[in-house]
Structures are given as structure tokens and as C-alpha cells.
Symmetry: C2
Subunit: 204 residues, 2 copies
């Protein structure tokens, strides 16, 4: 599930000696480049040049620009991969799929620690906020507009994101009780209907 692990597996395969340093150099260059130029204007060619590697190595280690971004930011899950699967299933059971996604986020401490880091950075650094906004718009809001196919699909996805980010802040950053110590499944059951409503139900 964690896209950040995939390149690690590539490295462990041992096909390319010295690849650990190469991979780290690409990630460092990508982090700087995305923060400076945002997601839309970032160029794999420029990232390769900054890292001092052939551009094809980026494709080898990370695949697409989207996957490089997810790895560089340290996103534990790739929302662009997960949400389409949730929407593809039976609408009558979407609450369960949304709750399962939330449980997955809330149960794994290294996963929510990295999410917390991303939320903190986006809250305090305008450059991080911009690259997150551009990434989410380009890879999630625009592609899912047709999938949702109802009124205001992008607005709905914005609201969905607002509840996810607010939950992370309230539970892990501010540590409101009892939310912070509730079992993941109880939190997921309480929040999933909100997410479903934002995606599929009438908005007012």
C-alpha cells in the first residue's frame, strides 16, 4: 500500500549497485524542486539535472512524476491511487470502504506520523501548501471529476480533503480527547458517513 516502500523494494533487488545513493539524490533534488516550483511546473528533466543523474533513472526508481512526488513528500499513501478504487465499488457499501481507509490511516503509527508531518508543513510553509494544492488538483480533483459525475465534484473532493486534514490535526497534532485515544474503528465509523455525504449525497 505504501508507495514510499516500492522504490525501497527496487533497491533491495540489487539489480543496480550503488542505487541507494542515486535514489536519495533524486529524492533530495525532487523535494527542493517541488517546493521551489510547485507540482505543475516541476520538470523531471530539471530534477534529474539537479540530482546529477540520467532522467531515465527517475522512471526506473519512481515511475511517474506523481509517484516521485508522493515519495519525495513522504506521503504514506497515494491518494490518487486509493480514492478511485473506493469510488469504483458499489455506492451502497462505500461507507465500509471509506471506514476501512480511515482505519488503515489511523492504525499505523508510522503512517499517521508522516501524514502529520505533511499537514504541519503545509500549515506553516506556503511553498508546501502550494505544491500540495497543485498535486491534489492535478492528480485527484481533475481526474475524479468525471468519475463522480454529480454536481460540483471538485468542491466535493475539497470538502472530503478538509475533513481528512482536520481529523489528522485534531487527533494527532492538537490531541483533543477522547478523539486522540479512541480506537481507529470507532473514529472511522463516525467520520465515514461525512466523507460519503461529501462525495455522493445532496450537499444541502
Amino acid at each position: 500500500m505504501s508507495t514510499a516502500e516500492r522504490p525501497e523494494q527496487g533497491r533491495r533487488s540489487g539489480r543496480r549497485p550503488g542505487s541507494s545513493g542515486t535514489r536519495a539524490a533524486i529524492l533530495a533534488a525532487a523535494s527542493r524542486h517541488f517546493a521551489e516550483h510547485g507540482y505543475d511546473r516541476a520538470a523531471l528533466r530539471a530534477i534529474a539535472a539537479e540530482a546529477g543523474v540520467d532522467q531515465r533513472l527517475i522512471a526506473y526508481f519512481f515511475g511517474s512524476k506523481q509517484e516521485l512526488f508522493v515519495a519525495a513528500v513522504g506521503l504514506p499513501l497515494n491518494p490518487a491511487e486509493m480514492l478511485p478504487d473506493i469510488l469504483a465499488g458499489d455506492p451502497a457499501t462505500i461507507d465500509q470502504r471509506l471506514a476501512a481507509l480511515l482505519v488503515e490511516i489511523l492504525e499505523q503509527s508510522d503512517l499517521h506520523q508522516r501524514l502529520t508531518g505533511v499537514v504541519r508543513a503545509a500549515a506553516s510553509e506556503p511553498a508546501v501548501a502550494r505544491m500540495m494544492r497543485e498535486f491534489l488538483t492535478r492528480e485527484l480533483f481533475i481526474p475524479l471529476t468525471t468519475t463522480l459525475g454529480n454536481d460540483n465534484p471538485r468542491f466535493r473532493l475539497n470538502l472530503f480533503g478538509s475533513q481528512i486534514v482536520g481529523l489528522i490535526l485534531a487527533r494527532y497534532v492538537v490531541g483533543l480527547e477522547p478523539l486522540a485515544s479512541m480506537p481507529p474503528q470507532a473514529v472511522a465509523n463516525a467520520v465515514a458517513p461525512t466523507l460519503r455525504r461529501y462525495l455522493l449525497d445532496p450537499l444541502d
Copy 2:
């Protein structure tokens, strides 16, 4: 509505010459003291000593510890005053009252700028997160437990807070579109049913 204005009005009444400096000294001491000791352990006597003023001047300018905190943090609205009013009305029309609260927050740019500042600070500084957590617990979650009178009232208020803070982050800090440029009333209409559900409806 804005509790931060009340002391300003007190100052303008001119009853107490030189009060502007006194008020500013109290606010500065309170900001430091709350950040260092949190909300629960903060003492008005110690704040008065830090500011070099008589403790009675704190009551004169700000009223209670709660109101001093709201002014020191720069909270544009005192949630401890507003939420009880919303809950006191007819449950059948609570969506409208919640939407009106959201419109009030979203329409006034100086108001949401200050809220954004508080959210940013809480996200990046653990001391700010702690004092916000203690303030909300002491002045909002505990007093409203009986008012709500249903299952898990504190958890419900935590979830309510998570959606408010997430909305501020998504609209003003990350600037997701179209959420960031939607009219306040449209945002309020879409989010109010979520807030009502967290407060009053069955949670799963």
C-alpha cells in the same frame, strides 16, 4: 460578537488614562504565560505579576481567565460563548444556526485571518497546541457535556472541531479550489449538516 473588541471599547471610554499600555502589557504577559504553562495551570496572579500590574486590572480589562485567553490568542470569536447559544435553540433548525455561524466566520476577512493564524500556530508549535487543547476541553467540551446529553458528547465536540479546523486549513491555508473561492453561504450550507450530525445525530 468579537470578544477582542470589547477591551478596545473599554480603552476608548477613556476612564483610565494610560490604559492602552497596561492592556498591552497584560496581553503580552498572558501570551507568554499561557504558552509556557498551558491553559489549566495558568494563574491570573502570575500573569499580573509578569505584567507588573494589579491583578484587579485583568478583571477590569478582560473579565475572566477565559476571556483573557481569547484576547491573548487573538481568537476572533469565543467558541465558549457561541456554541451554547446554537445548542439552546430548536434542534429542528440547528442547521440554519450552524450555517449562520460558518457564514460569519467565512465572510469577515480579518476574522478568518486571525483564525488561520491560530490554526497555523497550533499546527507548528506544540505549546500552542497544548494551550488550545486545554482551553477547548475546559471551556467547551466539559461544560457542553451535559448540554448535549447524548452518547459520547465530548467525542462529538472533538469531531465538530476537526471539521472546523480542516475547513479553515483547506480553504485559507492550502487554498483548495473551488472551496477557496466559493461564496460563504454555499460552503456553510454544505458543511452545516456535517456539524449537526456530529453534535446531535447517531454517529454510526
